[in-house]
């Protein structure tokens, strides 16, 4: 009964979403305040209904109600509770429900915190959110109903895909979707602004917190997914340029561009048309990603989601929303007036460069991802576009961007002094090279390119701090005064420094691990040892074990460095009972920022086992950098000027930006 209640709530939410999509828009068009006032009520109502529906599905998974096909296919009575919960979105129907839940959540947040928006803008934004919601609820109800019953109910479930039985599944999809779907708000703001034909700096101020929040969550989601793949898939890689990874990476790149262009628009009223276009494109890429993953046109580790029959429906959603928004853009963009002027060398100019490179990079990833498919359907010729292509093209594109990043915050708005900025960055460049050469020496040499790469990473980090250094006036005024100035800086400036610093940390991890990682693959018998990165791994033996829903062969190893024991590692091969599916569980030990990674291979006829070991220097930096970027996002989000609902007049009182305009 409760299951039917869930479906009923879902269908009701569709009705609510349709009301939300029509009445407020009509109200905004006619200037009818009563109709516009429907928007927040409908948005909140829709959120409540979707929450009930999602809660019912989660309840079914928690109590292992196998009369529900979705639970039967993706759960098992014996799996730990955490996986029963995360199993809700570890399948197509459930993940669409999560998508919808988060979309409704964002609509509700706009309804709750959008108090300072002009009434018609708020009504239109919520109406556009309503269109998206209605389309996706329709998609779920018609093609992906998670509440389908089976009779008679099977006694036991078919288990969650073993690869997904990990805490990663509990965290990665919700974070990713908070990012993906969060950009829907930016999209809705863009479409609403185009409908009204009016857009100004205030618009950018309203959009920026949403873009910032979505970007922060997407950063977290991608980093989490990368770390999950790294320890779960067991071959030590952390980014594969898998089409599905690309699908989440493209909105991130475009979203990063959007954050930066919205900054220009907010401060200087320039780049308005471009920012609106980016807001549309970013969410379009989210939709495209959803299409690519859900339709089954791509196969990858996320293949649980594949079902070609649903593809057409999502493709239709894709065409209607992206096509519709771009058409509207083409019709209305001309009526938006251009804003402030600026010299090529200026903060704006730097941000334009950022946007240029990020957009071209996004397009490169997009083309690389879709090219094989397009070529095959046009000519029948099959080609692959894999990691080596992306590493080369994307890497080349990133290089000038990374070089330019520390300059950005040091340049003044409108017209800036490039030479002055370069002089200020001299220390960052020098520090980068000194540290890089030191690391290179301690790693016993390596490719010369690695030195340049690591110098780049430290240049980024020190460069990010350089901005804070000069803004605080360290070295010019007494230390305590400088600290006080630092504390008084707008949070967004500190957030920027964090994000740019984090980028440097990630770059360091990426370069160091590709240049200095050592790998050994050997066949081992108990008592034998293998070396990597100065550590000696000794194989102690294999033991058979039993988990709640799997059996495993667990290899135990002891690790020593220079004869001193530094701990134990175990790595196992599991077979999950319900699906008879083998997985490997890598053994990882962290030493500072580096990791020792052990994965088991095949058992040999003579009783030995293939063991793969890696020493991965600085690899933690890759994800640690992402964490710092996230922290930057949250700090920036806490800036009072961006706080949703904060009155705009407060903006004038923040004195700190005046410091940089001194030149």
């Amino acid at each position: 009964m409760i299951i039917e209640f869930g479906l009923y709530a879902l269908v009701l939410s569709l009705a609510t979403a349709i009301v939300l999509s029509v009445l407020p828009a009509v109200g905004a068009w006619r200037g009818d305040a009563n109709l516009m006032a429907v928007a927040p009520v409908a948005a909140l109502g829709q959120f409540v209904l979707v929450t009930i529906s999602f809660g019912v599905l989660m309840h079914a998974h928690l109590v292992s109600d196998f009369s529900v096909a979705n639970v039967w296919q993706n759960s098992h009575s014996l799996i730990p509770t955490l996986y029963k919960v995360s199993g809700v979105w570890g399948n197509h129907e459930g993940s669409m429900m999560l998508w919808l839940f988060i979309l409704s959540l964002f609509s509700a947040l706009v309804a709750l915190f959008g108090g300072n928006l002009p009434a018609s803008l708020k009504a239109n934004v919520l109406a556009v959110q309503g269109w998206i919601s209605a389309a996706f609820i329709l998609f779920i109800v018609l093609t992906s109903n998670p509440f389908l019953r089976i009779f008679p109910p099977p006694p036991e479930g078919r288990d969650l895909n073993p690869v997904l039985q990990d805490v990663g599944l509990a965290i990665h999809p919700p974070l990713l979707y908070l990012g993906y779907v969060g950009f829907s708000v930016c999209f809705s703001f863009a479409v609403a602004a185009l409908m009204e034909g009016r857009i100004d700096a205030a618009w950018a101020r309203w959009v920026r917190p949403w873009a910032l929040a979505a970007w922060t969550f997407l950063t977290a989601g991608i980093a989490m997914g990368s770390y999950w793949a790294y320890y779960e898939l067991g071959w030590g890689g952390w980014w594969f340029w898998d089409p599905v990874e690309n699908a989440s990476f493209m909105p991130w790149l475009a979203g990063t561009a959007l954050l930066h262009s919205a900054l220009v628009m907010e401060k200087r009223e320039a780049l308005k048309i471009w920012t609106v276009l980016l807001a549309i494109l970013t969410f379009s890429l989210s939709l495209l990603g959803t299409f690519l993953v859900r339709s089954g046109v791509l196969t990858s580790v996320h293949a649980f989601a594949s079902d070609p029959s649903r593809g057409v429906f999502i493709l239709a959603i894709l065409v209607i929303f992206i096509g519709g928004a771009l058409t509207l853009f083409a019709l209305r963009a001309g009526s938006l007036t251009a804003g402030g002027l600026f010299a090529p060398v200026s903060r704006e100019g730097a941000l334009v460069l950022n946007n240029l490179i990020l957009t071209v990079s996004t397009a490169t990833v997009l083309i690389g991802t879709l090219y094989p498919m397009a070529l095959e359907s046009l000519t029948g010729e099959k080609i692959s576009v894999g990691a080596p292509f992306f590493n080369l093209t994307f890497g080349l594109l990133m290089l000038p961007l990374l070089l330019a990043v520390p300059f950005g915050p040091l340049l003044a708005w409108k017209r800036a002094d490039l030479l002055g900025a370069a002089q200020r960055l001299f220390f960052a460049v020098a520090a980068g090279f000194v540290i890089a050469i030191a690391i290179w020496y301690f790693e016993n040499g390596g490719p010369v390119l690695a030195v340049l790469g690591i110098a780049l990473a430290f240049y980024l980090m020190v460069g990010a701090l350089t901005d804070l250094w000069f803004r605080g006036g360290f070295g010019k005024v007494p230390f305590s005064t400088a600290l006080r100035r630092l504390a008084g800086l707008p949070r967004s400036a500190i957030g920027t420094a964090f994000a740019h610093f984090g980028l440097g940390v990630s770059v360091l991890g990426i370069i160091a691990v590709s240049a200095f990682q050592t790998e050994n693959v050997v066949e081992m018998k108990p008592g034998q040892t293998v070396e990597a990165g100065g550590y000696v791994l000794k194989f102690e033996g294999m033991k058979r074990g039993q988990g709640p829903n799997f059996t495993e062969d667990r290899g135990t190893f002891s690790l020593t460095k220079a004869g001193v024991s530094v701990g134990q590692i175990s790595s196992s091969k599991r077979v999950y009972m319900a699906r008879q599916m083998p997985t490997t569980e890598a053994g990882i030990r962290t030493f500072g920022l580096s990791q020792f990674y052990v994965a088991l291979g095949d058992l040999m006829p003579d009783g030995g086992i293939v063991v793969r070991v890696w020493w991965k220097p600085f690899i933690i930096c890759i994800w640690f950098g992402a964490l710092i970027m996230m922290a930057g996002g949250f700090i920036s989000l806490s800036d009072r000027r961006l706080r949703v609902g904060a009155p705009a007049r407060r903006a004038k009182k923040v004195a700190a930006p005046a410091l940089e305009a001194a030149e």
Binding site: L341, L356, V360, S384, P388, V522, E531
Partner: protein, 151 residues
């Protein structure tokens, strides 16, 4: 240096070659083996989902790895190995597609887009500046503007 020696000693004692995907596949010449690894990372495991043969533990990937090593031992250059694999499995096997009339768009896109982007920027900048100049400013306004810009 001691580390290197210890490592060499370890290699001798264990009689197991290092740096390979499976110990029994490894070539005795480390230089050749390094080339084999590099080539392997550029070849697609045809039955896998977007994995290189270097990463995959599928049976076919193993066969391809052995094939690559066989060709290298026979004295083939990297290019000859790639050519050989393409002749057997088609362009699909290459994770980094070769430049051809069909992949021109793929390889050219980043550069072309960057150029278009720069040109568009230049176009907008000049056309906007032109428009601004057309807008009539009185001498007094110009002087004030100058003063503001100089600040």
């Amino acid at each position: 240096m001691i580390r290197r020696l210890a490592f060499a000693l370890f290699l001798l004692l264990s009689a197991l070659p290092a740096h390979a995907v499976n110990p029994d596949e490894v070539l005795s010449d480390p230089k050749l083996e390094a080339r084999a690894r590099e080539i392997s990372s550029h070849l697609r495991c045809l039955v896998c989902q977007n994995q290189s043969i270097d990463d995959s533990n599928a049976e076919l990937a193993r066969d391809l790895r052995l094939l690559v090593r066989e060709r290298l031992k026979a004295g083939a250059t990297d290019q000859q190995v790639y050519d050989y694999l393409v002749s057997r499995y088609g362009e699909f096997v290459l994770l980094r597609p070769r430049l051809s009339e069909h992949t021109l768009l793929l390889w050219g896109a980043p550069a072309v887009l960057a150029i278009i982007g720069v040109m568009a920027l230049g176009f907008f900048a000049t056309s906007r500046n032109g428009r601004r100049k057309a807008a009539v400013l009185t001498d007094e306004e110009k002087a004030r503007l100058e003063a503001i810009l100089k600040e």
